[in-house]
């Protein structure tokens, strides 16, 4: 397996790029930045071309997501607003403005379901909010587990992910707590132990059976989601691991880190297969395209890199 750089889009935004997401089809990429805007890109002939520029997301964009139908995009910004727009005409569908400050962070659309549901990491509310976009209201609020552990003090939910089969929601917090919920009932199923530092990103493997986390402790952990067991800790980054993205075929995953590196890990041998040093500053987001043939990475150096993935 190998990543090769196709394009480095310098100055993709006016400032640090913090978030990235691919639309399920059509090679459309969404990026969010501290420059208070979201950009939509189209990959044409191995290069990214800017399609649209959505502005006015105050204080910077923390997370972006595109729903499974590819019709809607969503972004959460540091002013704690969650904005949902239509991907075809870029018009805002709804803006959730009534969530208290510091109670939104990362977000993820639910895989195909009847309702258009959006899970939002609840920041200092120490919970995950599930928003019903069509009804423009909160559908559920999943509370993170209470921990008696004294060293887990910072209650702040940073990251959230849906399993591809839609049955589970995973969330990571500042104090390293990783919780697993049943998406349908909102019941807390497990707590995945092993991290004590902020878990800034996490994702399910394509079979929905495992969870991979990115943590400030310089490790990425692979957990068995059903039995809540730590399978493997991947160490190799020289600083915080900020982002993680499993490959759609389940053989590999990529991580981005504060050490400016993007690493590709082999899930079979459980070793680092490749280290890419294209960026000059922290890599806040890595995302495989749903067809698995591309990887995109976004960084504090304002650039976005497009890689080809060959297995």
């Amino acid at each position: 397996m190998r990543l090769s750089l196709l394009q480095k889009q310098e100055s993709a935004h006016d400032d640090s790029v913090w978030a990235a997401a691919w639309a399920p089809t059509g090679n459309t990429l969404v990026t969010g930045s501290v420059d208070e805007s979201v950009k939509l890109w189209q990959e044409v002939g191995d290069t990214l071309e800017q399609q649209h520029h959505l502005v006015g997301l105050s204080l910077g964009v923390l997370g972006v997501s595109v729903d499974s139908s590819g019709q809607y995009g969503a972004a959460s910004s540091l002013d704690s607003y969650v904005t949902v727009w239509r991907m075809d005409d870029y018009n805002t569908v709804h803006q959730f403005t009534n969530i208290p400050p510091s109670e939104t962070w990362g977000l993820a659309f639910a895989p195909s379901s009847e309702k258009l549901l959006l899970a939002v990491a609840g920041g200092s509310s120490n919970s995950v909010r599930v928003l019903d976009v069509a009804a423009k209201e909160q559908a559920a609020q999943l509370a993170m587990p209470e921990s008696a552990d004294k060293q887990r003090k910072e209650k702040f939910v940073l990251s959230v992910a849906y399993s591809p089969d839609g049955r589970r929601i995973a969330a990571g917090a500042m104090d390293g707590t990783v919780a697993l919920f049943d998406a349908a009932t909102g019941k807390l199923l497990h707590t995945l132990g092993g991290h004590f530092r902020p878990v800034r990103d996490l994702a399910f493997t394509p079979d929905s059976k495992q969870v991979i986390t990115a943590c400030d402790d310089m490790n990425a952990h692979l957990y068995d989601a059903e039995h809540a067991e730590l399978i493997e800790a991947f160490s190799g980054h020289e600083s915080w691991v900020l982002s993680v993205s499993p490959h759609p075929n389940g053989t590999a995953f990529a991580t981005g880190s504060s050490d400016s590196k993007v690493k590709l890990w082999d899930l079979q041998t459980r070793t680092c297969a490749q280290t890419c040093s294209e960026h000059t500053d922290q890599v806040w987001a890595v995302r495989f395209r749903p067809d698995g043939s591309r990887l995109v990475s976004a960084s504090d150096d304002r650039s976005v890199c497009l890689f080809d993935f060959a297995s």
Binding site: W105, K150, H195, D216, N219
Partner: protein
């Protein structure tokens, strides 16, 4: 032949060779008579042996090979003459030895043992084989052979007994060795080796000299002993005879070394080197002595010169590396790299891999590379060291060294980020050696890095040495430390004590007694720093501390000087001394001196260089500098990024809100100064943005206030902010409304203009109609006139008059409308001006600048406030008047733990010093 032997005895090798050549040739030519086979063989073998000796002395590889092959040929010729003759086989053995083929040599000697020398038995092969065994440290066999030789030839030369003695000595049978040596001396009273051996023996028994025991195979140590023994009785006398002569001095120094007085030895050697600079022997001895002394080397430059003059001398470079390791790590690293390069080249020339490099050298270089931050290089070196140590037969690798290597490898892996592997290895080591404190410490560090403070705490307790709690170290503990004599620890303790003093000085010095207290603490700290610096002038931690105290005492210029020097020193160390604190402190001083550009630059550099751009605290400082430099959007952006990194930091959220509030105020002022034309359409958008920012600020303040006591922010201050923002927001909303109206009115005016246009068109049309009507009227009039009806004419005239009045009315109506629009626009502009003053014309006294009507004054007032606020943590002089009030609200509100800023910067040295200590304990193989 006899003549030849004479020649050899008199040292004329050339003649000897020529004569032998001639003898060999002559024997060949002599065909008649019974050939003197043995003579011929003897001549051939002598010649061959000579060639072997020449080969052994020959430096050039190619030449050596030629000589050896010549010798082999000669031997084969001799063998051809008599297959049973012993001599050629012996020489062949010698050839094999010279080629470093011990096995071949042994076989040759063993074969020779079964042969005879000119028909008689000879002990020569026994001796040769014994020697070989001895050299291979196969002392039992050697001894057996020597004894065999002695038995078969009791009248043999004393060397045999010497061999026996040496074997006994090596085997630890000192009594027998002594007997053998004494017997040898009886036979040959002036046999130096016997004397030497005896001396060594005596020394060995009497003082159990460690060096010899530790490394009996090191020719240098033997040499040293030899030097010593030779002069044992004389060097003192010799020294008295001629105090200037360096050789006896060297002997004396060596004696000191033997007596375990490295300090004295070093001083003697130093004086030797003054008389005879660059004397390589003395330098080498000194290089080995220094690590045992505590003093600083004065001859480092000489070492460097010597090494530079002998770029091929691996040992010297290694020695230089060892010597510099503690003083000048960058130089040491260069020396080690050079040594490795030389060794590698040599290994390549010998056709062996780089795994044949000495593990000690590789390890030391790896440790230094790790300290320099080159983790990758360090890792590869360390792996090589492990390979090299694992290779069978590598010298100087015992179990202990293996452990050290294992620890270092784990340490390097940890630095490379392979935490898991490192953890496993540390644990493995701990299993073998439960007392290995360093392993515990590193495991604690890993746990701490992972954030697992519980596990880390346990481990720390276990080692009874917690890095994290360094700041809490009790003074009593430090006092105890100070009582200990070890100078390194003393320095550390003093440093820590000084930091403690600097740290415990109250940051709030408005009250008199606390000011006094602070002064006492600072003077204590300064004194301690000064003492540390006296001992070690290059101690940048102490220098940094001095800078901090100076800055705290308000002597900013001096502090800046100190910080600049610290920064330079750390930059000059090639990354060995990392001192981000100096950068931050320097930036803090710049900030206090209102040199914002320099401060901002310094913070940015420090962030990039030392913190991977991910220290929320430094970003907070940077934002403060940007805020003070009036770069509000930049400040906001920096704060946003910091908040992104540390979302639970309430201070950051508060500052973001304060900055947004300031952004709005600044924008309001700027907008007013620009005096844009009323009805500018972009104005409304700007207002909307300002209102949005205010809303966010309000939301943030409200949120923080709702947190209650959990956030360590001043609740009263928060409430003030909330009130202020709320009021401003109210005004802004009103203003927004007005701006909207303004925009609406502009639209209305446009509509009115349109209406006017329409009206004009209407009137035009009317006029047209009228004209048409007139025409019609005239036509009719003409008709009427033609009819000549006077009454109708009067009626028509009346109608015409009414039309005129109507027209007039329309015109008048237009005029009032236009005037009205104009009036409205003017009023809106005035309102806008007044309202944009919402910030300055605020009734609340806290926000009231001196002259609410004078716009430029507001700006200046703000500037003064910012200027006054930059220094509060250092000068602590309350700014007078309204500006002071303002400062209270906007600038010290910019919460960055003012007291903590410098104390925080002063604290890390302790941590770092500890870290340094930990690093130092990364054992180097000695």
């Amino acid at each position: 032949m006899r003549a030849a032997e004479h020649l050899l005895a008199s040292g004329r090798e050339g003649d000897f060779e020529a004569l032998l050549q001639e003898a060999v040739e002559r024997e060949q030519q002599r065909s008649q008579g019974p050939p003197d086979v043995f003579n011929q063989i003897q001549a051939l073998c002598s010649l061959a042996e000579l060639k072997v000796q020449q080969a052994a002395a020959e430096r050039d590889r190619g030449q050596r090979v030629i000589l050896l092959s010549n010798s082999t040929k000669l031997c084969h010729r001799a063998q051809y003459l008599n297959m049973e003759e012993q001599l050629p086989e012996l020489v062949l053995g010698a050839v094999a030895l010279a080629k470093n083929e011990a096995m071949v040599a042994r076989k040759a000697f063993e074969k020779a043992m079964r042969m005879r020398c000119n028909g008689r038995p000879s002990i020569a092969p026994h001796l040769a084989l014994a020697n070989l065994h001895f050299n291979q440290r196969n002392y039992t066999d050697a001894l057996r052979l020597y004894k065999q030789a002695l038995r078969s030839c009791p009248s043999c030369p004393p060397e045999v007994r010497l061999g026996i003695a040496a074997c006994c000595l090596k085997m630890g049978n000192t009594d027998k060795a002594e007997l053998a040596y004494k017997r040898t001396l009886e036979l040959a009273p002036d046999c130096t080796p016997a004397l030497l051996g005896l001396a060594v023996l005596k020394l060995h028994i009497s003082s159990e000299e460690e060096a010899f025991e530790q490394d009996p195979d090191n020719p240098f140590v033997l040499l040293l002993l030899a030097h010593f023994c030779l002069r044992q009785g004389f060097s003192d006398k010799a020294f008295q005879l001629d105090p200037k002569l360096p050789l006896p001095k060297l002997g004396l120094a060596q004696m000191r070394v033997m007596n375990n007085e490295p300090q004295e030895a070093a001083s003697i050697l130093e004086s030797v080197l003054i008389d005879a600079p660059q004397w390589i022997d003395a330098l080498e001895v000194l290089g080995r002595v220094y690590p045992k002394t505590t003093s600083k080397s004065k001859v480092v430059p000489q070492f460097k010169e010597a090494a530079a003059l002998r770029p091929k001398n691996v040992g010297l470079w290694e020695l230089l590396g060892d010597l510099l390791a503690s003083l000048e790590p960058a130089g040491a690293l260069k020396a080690y790299d050079k040594a490795i390069e030389l060794r590698r080249a040599a290994a390549q020339a010998d056709g062996v891999g780089s795994s044949h490099l000495p593990p000690r050298l590789l390890n030391n270089a790896a440790v230094l590379h790790l300290r320099a931050g080159n983790t990758d290089v360090s890792y590869s070196l360390m792996t090589q060291a492990m390979q090299s140590a694992a290779r069978p037969g590598s010298t100087g690798v015992n179990a202990l060294v293996q452990v050290t290597l294992g620890y270092n490898l784990a340490r390097v892996k940890e630095a490379c980020g392979s935490l898991k592997a490192a953890e496993v290895e540390y644990k493995e080591l701990l299993k073998q050696f439960p007392q290995y404190g360093d392993c515990c410490l590193r495991l604690a560090c890993i746990a701490k890095a992972r954030g697992d403070t519980k596990a880390s705490g346990h481990l720390c307790l276990f080692t009874a040495c917690s890095i994290q709690e360094a700041g809490m170290v009790h003074e009593q503990v430090l006092d105890k430390l100070l009582e200990q004599t070890d100078s390194k620890q003393e320095m550390f303790a003093k440093l820590a004590m000084a930091n403690l003093h600097a740290y415990s000085a109250p940051s709030d010095r408005r009250k008199e007694d606390s000011a006094k207290k602070a002064e006492v603490h600072y003077s204590h700290a300064l004194e301690l720093y000064r003492r540390v610096l006296e001992k070690d002038e290059g101690c940048i931690f102490a220098a940094n501390g001095v800078g901090c105290v100076l800055a705290e005492l308000g002597n900013l210029t001096a502090a800046k000087e100190v910080f600049l020097q610290v920064q330079e020193a750390s930059a000059a160390s090639d990354g060995f001394l990392r001192m981000p604190d100096a950068w931050i402190n320097l930036a803090n001083v710049y900030l206090a001196q209102e040199q914002y550009t320099a401060a901002i630059q310094m913070y940015k550099n420090a962030l990039r260089k030392f913190y991977d751009n991910r220290s929320a605290l430094v970003m907070l400082y940077l934002a403060r500098a940007q805020y003070d430099a009036d770069q509000l959007p930049e400040a906001k952006c920096t704060l946003t990024k910091a908040l992104h990194l540390a979302p639970t930091d309430h201070k950051l959220r508060f500052d973001v809100a304060v900055t947004m509030q300031a952004c709005v105020l600044e924008w309001a002022v700027r907008t007013l100064q620009k005096k844009r034309p009323a009805g500018d359409p972009s104005r409304y958008e700007d207002f909307r943005r300002a209102v949005r920012d205010l809303e966010h600020a309000h939301r943030f303040f409200q949120y923080l206030h709702s947190l209650g006591r959990g956030h360590q922010l001043d609740t009263r201050k928060l409430q003030q902010h909330i009130n202020f923002v709320a009021k401003t927001h109210g005004k802004a909303l009103a203003h927004l409304e007005r701006a909207r109206e303004d925009a609406q009115k502009a639209a209305q005016r446009q509509a009115a203009a349109q209406a006017e246009k329409n009206a004009q068109e209407t009137s035009k049309r009317l006029a047209e109609e009228r004209r048409k009507a007139e025409e019609g009227v005239q036509r009719r009039k003409q008709e009427e006139q033609a009819r000549g009806n006077v009454e109708r004419l009067r009626q028509l005239q009346e109608q015409w008059r009414t039309n005129a009045t109507m027209q007039k009315a329309v015109a008048a109506g237009d005029a009032t409308a236009v005037q009205k629009v104009n009036n409205d626009a003017a009023a809106a502009a005035v309102n806008a001006q007044v309202d944009a003053l919402f910030a300055s014309s605020e009734e609340d006294e806290d926000y009231n600048p001196e002259n609410p009507d004078d716009l430029p004054d507001f700006d200046a007032g703000g500037g003064a406030a910012q200027a006054g606020a930059a220094a509060p943590e250092l000068t602590a002089e309350p700014a007078a008047g309204v500006a002071g009030d303002l400062e209270d609200d906007f600038d010290s509100d910019f919460d960055m733990d003012e007291g903590g800023a410098d104390a925080g910067a002063a604290e890390p040295p302790a941590k770092r010093a500890k870290h340094q200590a930990v690093l130092d304990s990364d054992d180097e193989v000695e």
